[in-house]
């Protein structure tokens, strides 16, 4: 199925579907997430979850977007499901029940963005140390680094340079 056909198949039930650069993206509310994934698995054969991650857009409302990359093992097509979360309420149901592979993906997204996956069996940091404070991939977190002396000048770390 081509991306356009895929989008047409779901448009009546999920009006917020777009095709950009041949990627199909469906935006749903977090309360419909689990049902949506089950529907897509049953109707479109999207039985695999490749990846779960998020993006952070500070200053915008909603601030966070969680993206699920779905894949159909039989038909070899893909679809992205996105859910918006507001800053003060960054919670979303865990999909580990439907996709056990989501376990570590969700832990990683929690680790990096502080997004809480409700119902996750063991939501702990995964890549950063347990005592780490902050959510490092949020745009509001500094990259970190030290000034470097070069030919008598002090070069600031890359996120504090003017360019």
């Amino acid at each position: 199925m081509t991306p356009a056909e895929l989008a047409d198949r779901v448009r009546t039930r999920f009006p917020d579907v777009t095709v950009g650069r041949d990627d199909v993206t469906v935006v749903v509310g977090r309360e419909e997430l689990l049902e949506t994934l089950e529907t897509f698995r049953a109707d479109l054969g999207l039985d695999s979850l490749s990846s779960v991650t998020a993006t952070d857009w500070p200053g915008r409302e909603p601030r966070f977007w969680v993206a699920y990359e779905l894949y159909a093992n039989e038909q070899h097509h893909r679809m992205r499901v996105k859910v918006a979360l507001s800053e003060g309420d960054a919670r979303i149901p865990s999909v580990t029940g439907a996709f056990p592979t989501a376990d570590w993906h969700e832990r990683e997204t929690f680790d990096f963005y502080g997004i809480v996956f409700e119902g996750h069996p063991d939501l702990r940091r995964i890549l950063l140390p347990e005592g780490w404070e902050g959510w490092p991939l949020r745009k509001t977190e500094e990259l970190g680094g030290v000034d470097t002396r070069f030919h008598g000048a002090l070069i600031p770390p890359v996120d504090r340079r003017s360019t």
Partner: protein
């Protein structure tokens, strides 16, 4: 104290044998855990009751770092994630950025990309073979594996300047064409390698110790592997013929003849067989690449808004900038100088949008989810690393087995912690 079997045994009151389980750490510094992987093992004697992989010891924040660099600089970061499959990381990232830009690398660049990726796959599988052999006591295999990998790394070094972390694949193509003599060296390699693979098979395939250590060990049925998101040779050894190269062809893979190797047993031995056969398939693809390389052509897109402005050529001092180009920007054209300066400092501008691009790395589906906000820097680069996902299946493989089999099981998944931790 154990509560298994429903009985609680207290050594103080009954005087019977203690039935305690023991929790031990294997790793993160352990010679047999393929890098800094830590396994929390719960043992009953020699039997593994449970296992929890703990990762993150090699986390270097590549995804965060990339957000602060230009699009072109991103290549030099992602190549360091899974350092045994550098070319795949470069390719996945570049394909994603090219998809955002709406450009396609010229045909010759695509052939070179596939050529280097498949050579890289062989090199990666050789490291897997070498380290697995070492861990299971087959030291000669370790020496052979690294010996042949060295031939590949020499070819890489001649073409890219580096043995690892090449940054050879760039947005819009590859950095430069093959140097003189490379094709002959690759042909020599294609000549010698099948015999060497035959040697490995003679050493291992019928070897009673190798069979005893691998057959029936670390079994992962397809029904368990699929929900856990396992991909790559580990999944194919469980009988599922999933391969991104065939299922979602990129860079012209649909024009190459190769088999997707599968085995039904889902054990460590099946994974061994799959990887050995995959090396042969990769050799066949490299052979086809060499045939296609007879046709000359550009290795980078022409669009000056995408291509790297500098032109490299080998001067008397080794690799360097083309003197003709330097003269052009320094003495002839102010506009060319401004363009050069802008492209080098600010970099390419990528229209806003998001894409997910998978490639088939030696470990499975390596995906790049790249988001642009229309600026000169990536807004988000998420690396879906296959080792990270495949490691989730390790507890299932080792439960109920012996400690020694845990070593074989981890080796057979072939995790690279640089990719897992990023």
């Amino acid at each position: 104290m154990s509560e298994r079997d429903g009985t609680v045994v207290s050594p103080d009151t009954t005087g019977e044998l203690r039935q305690e389980t023991m929790v031990i750490n294997m790793g993160p510094q352990h010679p047999s855990t393929h890098g800094v992987l830590r396994l929390l093992l719960e043992l009953d004697g020699e039997t593994v009751i449970d296992c929890a992989p703990i990762v993150g010891y090699l986390h270097t924040g590549i995804e965060k770092n990339v957000e602060y660099r230009t699009w072109q600089q991103g290549v030099t970061f992602v190549t360091r994630a899974d350092y045994l499959s550098s070319f795949f990381n470069e390719l996945g990232y570049c394909l994603a950025v090219e998809k955002l830009l709406g450009v396609e690398a010229p045909p010759r660049a695509q052939v070179l990309r596939i050529l280097f990726c498949e050579m890289n796959r062989i090199a990666s599988h050789l490291v897997w073979l070498a380290t697995s052999g070492l861990e299971l006591g087959a030291v000669s295999v370790m020496l052979y594996g690294f010996r042949e990998r060295e031939i590949i790394l020499d070819i890489f070094e001649a073409a890219t300047g580096l043995r690892m972390n090449h940054a050879y694949i760039r947005i819009g193509g590859v950095v430069m064409d093959l140097p003189e003599g490379s094709v002959d060296r690759i042909r020599d390699f294609l000549e010698v390698m099948p015999k060497r693979i035959g040697e490995y098979e003679r050493l291992l395939s019928g070897n009673p110790i190798w069979i005893a250590r691998n057959r029936g060990v670390g079994v992962l049925p397809a029904a368990d592997a699929l929900p856990l998101g396992v991909t790559g040779p580990t999944l194919r050894a469980s009988g599922v013929a999933r391969d991104v190269r065939r299922d979602e062809p990129y860079s012209g893979y649909d024009e190459y003849a190769f088999e997707v190797i599968t085995r039904e047993d889902g054990d460590c031995y099946a994974r061994f067989e799959v990887r050995i056969e995959e090396m042969k398939e990769s050799l066949a693809i490299v052979e086809q690449c060499l045939d296609r390389l007879r046709e000359a052509g550009p290795v980078m897109v022409e669009d000056p808004k995408v291509r790297w402005p500098a032109q490299l050529e080998v001067g008397p001092d080794g690799i360097g900038n083309s003197m003709a180009y330097v003269t052009h920007i320094m003495e002839e054209s102010m506009e060319a100088l401004i363009h050069h300066f802008k492209m080098v400092t600010e970099g390419v501008s990528v229209p806003s949008g998001e894409v997910y691009v998978p490639v088939e790395s030696p470990r499975g589906e390596l995906g790049y989810y790249v988001v642009s906000d229309g600026g000169h820097r990536p807004y988000r680069v998420k690396i879906r690393d296959p080792s990270f996902v495949n490691l989730q299946a390790v507890p299932l493989m080792v439960r109920g087995g012996l400690v020694a089999d845990t070593i074989a099981a981890i080796a057979s998944v072939d995790p690279v912690m640089g990719g897992v931790d990023r």
